[in-house]
Assembly symmetry: C3
Homo-oligomer: 169 residues x 3
């Protein structure tokens, strides 16, 4: 559990409806990353969103920063652009599996939720391996008809990440 | 398939409603284990519940017992307490991924279902590995507004479990 | 993304209803394979269905054929029979995990969708390993009350498959 992401009492029907919408959000988000559409990645976030990747040890200790920290569309787009332009890393395929979506609370129109993610990686001529396993802690805002992330904290268990983390999760 | 857990003909709308409720049960159950809230684990079971972890070979052969066998709240609470107090094993992080929830039948208010589970384990300074992969075979009772397990059979494929199985699945 | 499987604009409620039905299809399909009910496998397909397993590199290059290609019930049943009769390969357990079901489009009663799959394999006295990770690209027809596959393209990331691919995915 991440600080600030405790579970509150929820109306079951409302929580379920939110769960379905969040599941559909994850699927679109992951499809963008799995297909390498990195330029689309910032579009899943609000203008002043926070995006963070951090280890479970850090998260448990309440340490704010981590491996990656972005605040706002400018930083998200910079990061996406850097990845798209650099490609210094070996070509690889990624697949995201998101399960266990858990709605934690709804307050002022913002839905808090968590989910377990598993990112598998395949490098050319190598076996498919576990790249990163962890838990998303998210806050979603409803904008237009859909959801956007105003916060995403990716808390990974995988302390040994098998090469420099270049792609967002 | 586990003996006694065959699929029966079901009303599709009823089966779907049960599936959603079961998915939400799994998510809460797994969150408790992933967060190390071991004392909460017995709360997911009825008073006289059966909990068992057994290998697929054993299950296929119709052998009743396995690696772990608990009958009733007393044994479940004993086990939870033993784990909470001992901690002789190395610190580790666990993540549960539950997919493929399949409602098998509904009889006398008890819902039978299966689901595939994957438990990933991360030890300090090691890679994330597959700790246990298997199938839950469950019977749920509706108590108050929610579901409780009156039976859970964890049938694992992973015959070589990488160290003594201490945590419930 | 597979050519011909782009995402179109969909009514959200209709897409969600289709998603639920497709999730239930996957669960039944995977249960048949996980339980070794190989003779049931062709029953998930229409009379003239296409079934293909191919690598992501091939799929990205638009190459039509792959590791496995079946067209029509005859070829599907031949393949199922060959597997059931041969058993030249070592005994193994398989578990399928399907997540991230994404409805892509609905046209003329045919629903196009994708989903991420993970197949874990356990050989006797060995650890559970990732057998194949990939993405299903499917077209479903509604026949009777249920869904049948008229096309399934299994696009795998796992380029090194750890032994000859005998089982369908």
């Amino acid at each position: 559990m991440l600080e600030g992401f405790g579970k509150t009492v929820l109306d079951p029907a409302e929580a379920r409806a939110q769960r379905f919408a969040i599941e559909e959000f994850h699927v679109e988000y992951c499809a963008a990353l799995d297909e390498g559409r990195i330029a689309d990645w910032p579009l899943f976030f609000t203008e002043d969103a926070i995006y963070r990747i951090t280890g479970r040890e850090n998260a448990d200790a309440g340490l704010p920063v981590g491996l990656v920290y972005c605040e706002g569309q400018g930083m998200l787009r910079d990061r996406a652009l850097a990845i798209a332009k650099t490609e210094m890393f070996a070509p690889r395929y990624l697949l995201h599996y998101v399960t266990n979506v858990r709605v934690l609370g709804i307050a002022d129109g913002i839905v808090s939720a968590q989910a377990n993610y598993l990112v598998l990686q395949t490098l050319v001529d190598e076996k498919t391996t576990i790249h990163q396993a962890g838990c998303y802690f998210d806050r979603f805002a409803r904008v237009g008809g859909g959801l956007l992330l105003c916060e995403r904290h990716c808390v990974y268990d995988t302390l040994l990440i098998d090469n420099s983390l270049v792609m967002p999760v």
